[in-house]
Amino acid sequence: MCEQRENVNRTRLVSRADLILLAVVLLLAGAALVFYETHKEQGKLVRIRVGSETVEVLPLGKDRTYEVKTGEGSNTVVIKSGTVSVESADCPDKICVRHKPVDSVGETIICLPHKLVVEVVE
């Protein structure tokens, strides 16, 4: 019993395979992010969706403020000098509000609690 416990205590926490797994995940995801960041394309339109329904498509070139009201709450989407962001929202996590402004094709700001997707398209 005692001997077994000593054995268990000497068990290493990290194996070589663990480290390789960690490195592979970090490298792959890191490389993909770098690729993504360097192949960005300036978008022209902003599509605002709630769930699967498109509520509005706005030009990214024209500054304006758009209020999105859903059954769950409201988000204030602001287009300013070619970028779009969520200025304020009454969702519990405020992740959408803290998200950096986006301007490239395919970039999205998501408000999960409100099922809102602000998406930059061509």
């Binding site: 054995n7 268990v8 068990t11 395979a17 993504y36 969706r49 999205t108």
Partner: protein
Amino acid sequence: MENKEPRKNEKEKTIPASRMTAYIGVFTALALLLSYIESLIPVFLAVPGVKLGLANLVTIVALFKLGVLPAAGISLCRILLSGILFGNLTMILYSLAGATLSLLVMWALKHCRIFFVTGVSIAGAVAHNAGQLAVAAFLLENGSMFYYMCVLAISGAVSGLLIGLLAGSIIRRIRI
């Protein structure tokens, strides 16, 4: 030598049903507490789903010490209870998808002798994020989630590493 040790560690004595029930209760309470503590920590990154995964600590310890079924039971109880107490139905759905995929992957890797607790935890955390993202992609019908996938893979690997090291230390110390 190294190959032998985890095997010894894993030779689980069968735990009597009454004690198992008690363990599951205690583990579930602990997981619930950690879920609550985690919900108090502000989200640092503006990406949904980035988190430490403190409750996964309990799942991993349970997986290694009690087995896969008790670990699944503890996860399920924790998700349902914390969903009802601090969240909503959508949250339960996200958590369930993440936890199911995560536990399946961890169970598979645990049987693969080359990975230790840390590797199991890293894979589990990444799988958890992937599962949640799959639900989000489905619910929001949004295919362009490439950026989120990358960020969540990195955050999952880092949090999985931390939780795995912690879980490993606990597994070595507690006797069940």
